[in-house]
Assembly symmetry: C2
Homo-oligomer: 337 residues x 2
């Protein structure tokens, strides 16, 4: 947009009318005669007139832009969410502005400022690990900006939340493992600061408790990176009494776990069954394809966006609501006995 774009003023001059007339003609205002309307439309087409969204945004304070803040764009989860979001946003004639916080509190605050500056009509956020102080969000809410949190949600704030029921998800996974006869069930956690870790862990414990299986602390390992997960899993496999099933908390940990399994030539699922929280696409890449509790990335994006637009259209007067999606269990060969 470096060159002079043509404006309604150009059309007005060429037609010898005022710019208000052009403006009204373009939006089919009843005040304008058909003759004038046609002339304006013709001219607009001819000059390839494109309305200036920035000017309109300034005028009505509606930018037709939705802001998104995610901690990272690295695989696997957030790109899927974005996919779900973009579909919905685009469907409504809105556009999406994406910002990464890179797990930094300062950048998250700055990103909120940027989105405010750009007059976005609503914001979707998954907060960074470091975020403790929530004042940048509370002030947004006080300013009456529609906002929906998803996945990485803040603990104490009055706002819409969209997430999957991780406790239930882990519970379901573990019950499934039990149902195929496994009882020595391990879990590989990811970053302990994330709510998903503690939630999934508690679902895991809940299921064991329900089935009167004692919790073995040796079976609870942590792998923030794929390598770490791989190493920890190897240690697990070397225990005198190793597990007969393992639950991976993320795509990344699953990747490490499966490497360890291959290295130790474990038979899946006979020796050890494997299940994880993996995107459908990725869960099928393993040998055998792994059973999974779908983390529902696309779905989360879709639902969060729908809720955001509900807020936008109803003047943001809705009661804050937490939407708990229940993730679905997909059974594949890694748990088929």
């Amino acid at each position: 947009m470096t060159n002079k774009a043509i404006t309604i003023i150009d059309i007005a001059k060429l037609l010898g009318v005022s710019k208000s007339t052009v403006s009204r003609a373009l939006k089919d205002h009843p005040d304008i005669s058909n003759a004038t309307k046609e002339a304006v439309h013709m001219m607009a087409k001819q000059l390839k007139y494109k309305p200036n969204a920035v000017a309109m945004s300034l005028r009505h304070k509606k930018s037709k832009v939705i802001g998104l803040i995610v901690p990272t764009l690295s695989p696997f989860f957030f790109p899927s969410v974005i996919h779900g979001i973009e579909n919905e946003v685009n469907k409504r004639g809105y556009n999406l502005m994406i910002l990464q916080s890179n797990e930094s509190y300062e950048r998250e605050v700055r990103n909120v400022d940027i989105l405010q500056s750009n007059n976005v009509e609503g914001i979707l956020v998954s907060i960074s690990r470091k975020t403790e102080d929530l004042s940048h969000f509370t002030s947004l809410i006080e300013d009456n900006t529609p906002i929906v949190f998803f996945d990485r949600i803040p603990k104490s704030i009055q706002a819409d939340m969209v997430l999957v029921d991780d406790v239930l998800g882990a519970f379901t996974a573990v019950e499934h493992l039990i149902s195929i006869g496994k009882r020595k069930i391990a879990i590989c956690l990811g970053n302990p600061n994330l709510l998903i870790s503690s939630n999934r862990l508690s679902g895991y414990k809940k299921a064991l408790k329900k089935h009167s299986i004692e919790i073995n602390e040796e079976f609870i390992i942590t792998g923030e990176s794929s390598e770490e997960a791989e190493n920890e899993t190897k240690k697990l496999l070397e225990l005198t009494n190793p597990p007969d099933a393992i639950l991976a908390i993320s795509d990344l940990t699953m990747s490490g776990i499966m490497k360890a399994m291959y290295a130790k030539k474990i038979k899946i699922p006979e020796d050890i069954a494997v299940i994880g929280f993996c995107e459908d696409t990725f869960s099928q890449m393993y040998n055998p394809p792994v059973s999974t509790i779908d983390p529902m990335g696309i779905e989360i994006g879709k639902i969060a966006t729908e809720r955001l637009f509900q807020r936008i259209h109803e003047n943001n007067i809705l009661e804050p609501k937490t939407i708990n999606l229940s993730s679905r269990l997909i059974i594949r060969d890694s748990t088929k006995i």
Copy 2:
């Protein structure tokens, strides 16, 4: 931004000065006395004043926004590219507006309009499969909007292009297979309309030719989806004279190929070696981890963005240039004899 945000006018009124003074004070203009500057800054901080990016964008026609059009946001390639792009864009204090064309020509045209309307300062594009007519891009270029194409580039247009040398990539892959003693080398293509398919195919052929290996048409298969790739690979494996190596053209085809390998209990790499064009992260998920010609998603995004900013900063007067990244070969167990 539904509520009244505070503006320089609010500050001006409270301080009993004009808005021009506030404006100048905020940007440290020498005309303004230190006393006034301090007062303004204090008040701005106190009221949590946030400059209105939209108004500024309207004024100097600089939006600080970069537009991105991709065919899809589904895994695997484009999310990586976006990751690379966002890092660079953000680093420069710019923001990113993302649009999907969903492989539709009409949506691509519409997306270009949207970006123009939003006064983006530059555009990054990977074109849709359906795009034949390029007039929406040529008119952009005539309007002097900085633009850089990447990966899916149009054939005949004068503009910057960033891509990996696919011919060389495939050539390298095949030579690597030959170097470990394979000679019956198959290739699984993806969508035949994509330039990467024909380029990688020609690199494949070139390498075979160089080593005087006859091209076997039976060894050239196509799998647009993972399932199709799986089925075609199975057929391949049932040939009376099956290949001893296979080159996968994408993550998706690799996924299908590996499934077929597992199903047929092929030993990798002894029976058949496998190599693909896979993202590093994903190539390690297989058993064994597969060798790969890195498609350099993040890198492409980075380079394309750097080039775009070069254009933006140098008033778009650069000669169009095609940047050919050479992808690197990563050798893993799937080709280690």
